[in-house]
Symmetry: C2
Subunit: 311 residues, 2 copies
């Protein structure tokens, strides 16, 4: 896990601590990445007391040479069930604000840990934790961006951004529904494939855009089609993905019609959203998740240094 790097050059640690995974980067004083490390010890499997030892274990080589370790975290580590609660900031606001970070008390006195808060929206009720840092990273590079940022994932977010602020957003359970339906529902018998059938995906996107109210019926029809017509698992799985993403697109027209759209997510899922929008005449750009996360954490680090310098 631990890569070799010049440990004396490590200036701070950037951490994205999510529900099921943890990813961190050893950073130098010029905010260059010296090494990347990860673990499957996400927030959901840890008690409050376990976060510090898990982190120290991942950076044990750094800890042997450093007499001060600055750490900036984003993500679910800041939830009520996490390491320390970082209360949500309320829209409209800039995505990342170091001054609102929660300071974590640690047993190892060399550790100085800050967790960035997520964002909340009150009408309709919605929350994000972690995505705000990716948005902050994107805006650090593109401060004048005005349009929509789409962040595919377990709970996909569509975010209106202008004037460097998050103005509003809507989350969808698309990713979690896909996982539940493909692994734990009656559809699991019909969608066991690692192939993608692009035409079936796009046909399902189009079906769902035309009749999004039929989603829960169209899902059952996938099972019936595999029973009655021996439709293969690649086609069924691609249709399942297309139905869920198409339904999401039906509900997000105000986000993607007639304005710039950037997708944070260069994985297959990000490309699936890009291709679904392309089929509707929308050309969305794609940027890398980890890159935006690091940039967002670096923006917070810059504010931290300025704050320390001033005080």
């Amino acid at each position: 896990m631990a890569e070799t790097c010049d440990l004396s050059a490590v200036d701070w640690i950037a951490v994205d601590w999510g529900t099921s995974n943890l990813r961190l980067w050893l950073m130098d004083r010029d905010d260059r990445v010296l090494a990347q490390r990860s673990s499957d010890q996400g927030m959901s499997g840890l008690t409050r007391a376990e976060f510090e030892p898990v982190l120290l274990d991942l950076i044990s080589d750094v800890a042997t040479v450093a007499d001060r370790i600055d750490v900036i975290c984003c993500g679910m580590a800041g939830s009520r069930q996490g390491w320390a609660e970082a209360p949500y900031r309320t829209l409209p606001c800039s995505p990342v604000d170091f001054m609102a970070a929660t300071r974590v008390s640690t047993r190892d006195s060399r550790l100085s840990v800050r967790i960035l808060p997520g964002l909340r929206q009150d009408r309709p009720d919605d929350v994000m934790r972690g995505e705000e840092t990716q948005i902050g990273g994107f805006l650090a590079h593109r401060p004048d961006f005005k349009g929509t940022i789409c962040l595919p994932g377990t709970h996909c977010k569509w975010v209106h951004v202008s004037d460097g602020q998050v103005k509003g957003f809507t989350s969808f359970m698309t990713g979690e529904l896909f996982a539940l339906l493909s692994k734990s529902s009656v559809l699991r018998h019909s969608v066991d494939s690692d192939q993608v059938d692009h035409d079936s995906f796009l046909a399902a996107v189009s079906d769902a855009l035309a009749t999004p109210e039929l989603l829960t019926s169209a899902l059952f029809s996938l099972r019936a089609a595999s029973l009655l017509r021996d439709v293969g698992p690649a086609e069924s799985r691609s249709r399942l993905s297309g139905l869920l993403i198409g339904t999401e697109l039906a509900a997000t027209r105000r986000f993607w019609l007639d304005q710039p759209v950037a997708i944070i997510g260069a994985s297959g899922l990000g490309r699936a959203y890009q291709s679904a929008m392309h089929s509707q005449g929308v050309e969305a750009e794609i940027v890398d998740v980890a890159e935006q996360t690091i940039r967002g954490l670096c923006a917070a680090r810059t504010a931290w240094k300025e704050f320390t310098h001033e005080s």
Copy 2:
């Protein structure tokens, strides 16, 4: 489990063998129920060879005195992974046809077992197994019924019936989605309650009817509302149910607008559908599931006796 009854009066066994449960009735020669028995040994937990011993175990008292045991089954026992495949009949057709039943070969030569087939529809793809027998039971009592039959459950069915035939139907994964979301998704933290908040249920039905394309977003909003506003589990659970049923109603207007609707399902779920339709100005009647199932199996038994008598 076994009730006392006059075993010598048992003429045949009516069985509803579903995915997760098995229910049977000892019937006399005038199709009166002598006793009811049930078990959790549903189709999904059994290999083909296990069906016969499970059945014999449930009727062991009958088996010790009878020298012939006629059995009529409906439900998932007739699926490809069941006791013996009973191939689907194609719409439009009468719901129950004994002549299309599959004869099961048994090791115990006294057993004479028939499984009734389910129904298939080809455009759009859809299937049912078990519900056709309930529909047949309903029509045995109400042969002139022309309208819609709604069968709530894991995969809720909406069925167009006229001239004693099933003309078309649409299934929804509503029940299975409710179970997955309330037990296995992020919403499980927010909906753990056995109370019903009727006003919240109806408000969510209305929301979903107005904007059914927002379902997968409204689901996430339940989680956000419990985090941000401490919305209680009874309200969240009732809203979850209302969102799913309301989305179903948005997709089934052609089934429930301006025509008679009968709900087969006198449980809380059936009443939830009734009350959701009532809020839209539709007065649906409710009938009991087991009663319709027994009536449907009795209709098949009558045909069996006529057939045996003729041949």
